[in-house]
């Protein structure tokens, strides 16, 4: 089932039939030593830390997937008004949160 995932409060051309509630997905990720050493070397010249970018990208996609799973179990076919949040738990790990409103849409 293809699900609409949007940041806005509306999807063009569709009407909200039922609001299923707030859904969220989160992951807690820690770095691993290889990327840490590479980042330490990168700190000599500065610039983008590609290892960390990929790591955080993957974990964000994972939290998005968990949110979609939760919405599917509620019987929704779209998630509106998605927001992301990050917080550092310890100095080695951070939580990536993704939350939105799961709704059932039909054509307007």
């Amino acid at each position: 089932m293809t699900m609409f995932l949007v940041n806005t409060e509306f999807v063009p051309g569709k009407r909200i039939v039922r609001v299923c509630g707030l859904v969220q997905g989160s992951t807690v990720r820690a770095k691993h030593i290889g990327r840490d050493i590479a980042a330490g070397l990168k700190n000599l010249v500065g610039g983008e830390l590609k290892g960390y970018t990929e790591l955080l990208n993957e974990s964000r996609n994972e939290s998005l997937r968990r949110m979609v799973e939760q919405a599917n179990s509620l019987g929704a076919n779209a998630i509106l008004n998605i927001r992301y949040g990050t917080s550092a738990i310890t100095s080695g790990a951070s939580e990536l949160l993704c939350y939105g409103t799961a709704v059932v849409l039909e054509d307007a």
Binding site: N7, T8, N43, E48, Y52, N57, T86
Partner: protein, 208 residues
């Protein structure tokens, strides 16, 4: 895909550093010693002492003077080339519209809605962090960190617009930015970098 950033410069810098710090001292020791052993049959104490001393001097000069200078020069070059590439990319993507409003204007007809989320993790080099340590003593603006965050924000905006263009959209709506600090593992308060996320919904608008 990170087409606005350069990687070959860092490889070149490390290659040069390794060459000057490791290979050149080894060549300066190995080749003279082997040549004199071949030609004269033995080397006396004075010659060995001079060669080892010069090697140590070369290694010290390489690691204490040449290597930091090389890193600083590389970081300056990386930063300025990133700014140039950003200006060029923003000019190419200037036909896209980015907004943080919640509702579309009434005369626009949107088609398709895709969530776009891009991130970048960006770091300053060690020497700028050292200068920041001195700056913290008197307080005030830190223009190097301002430039860093501006680079990260512009880079992530360019990535969002590029991805939206790939999806066939021409407008990105309800854009939000988030920042998080990536901390170094062994030190509590030092930062290894800054992560900047931008996310929004991409529409293709007809009837503007």
């Amino acid at each position: 895909m990170q087409p606005t950033m350069n990687t070959w410069v860092e490889k070149f810098a490390f290659g040069m550093a390794i060459f000057f710090m490791i290979l050149l001292p080894i060549l300066w020791v190995f080749i003279p010693m082997s040549l004199s052993l071949l030609l004269e049959g033995r080397m006396d104490r004075e010659q060995i002492g001079m060669i080892v001393g010069l090697t140590a001097l070369l290694f010290a000069f390489g690691s204490a003077v040449f290597f930091p200078l090389m890193c600083i020069a590389c970081s300056i070059w990386i930063e300025s080339s990133h700014f140039r590439a950003l200006t060029k990319a923003e000019h190419e993507l200037s036909d896209m519209i980015l907004s943080d409003l919640k509702t579309l204007p009434p005369n626009w007809h949107p088609n398709g809605a895709v969530l776009i989320c891009e991130n970048v993790v960006i770091a300053n080099d060690y020497f700028k962090a050292l200068l920041w340590f001195f700056r913290k003593i008197v307080g005030g603006r830190s223009r190097s960190f301002e430039r860093l965050i501006e680079r990260g924000r512009r880079e992530v905006t360019v990535r969002v617009l590029r991805k939206a263009k790939e999806c066939g959209a021409n407008v990105v709506w309800n854009v939000r930015y988030e920042t998080a600090i990536v901390q170094a593992n062994n030190k509590e308060k030092s930062m290894a970098g800054v992560e900047i996320i931008a996310y929004g919904t991409a529409f293709s608008i007809t009837g503007e």
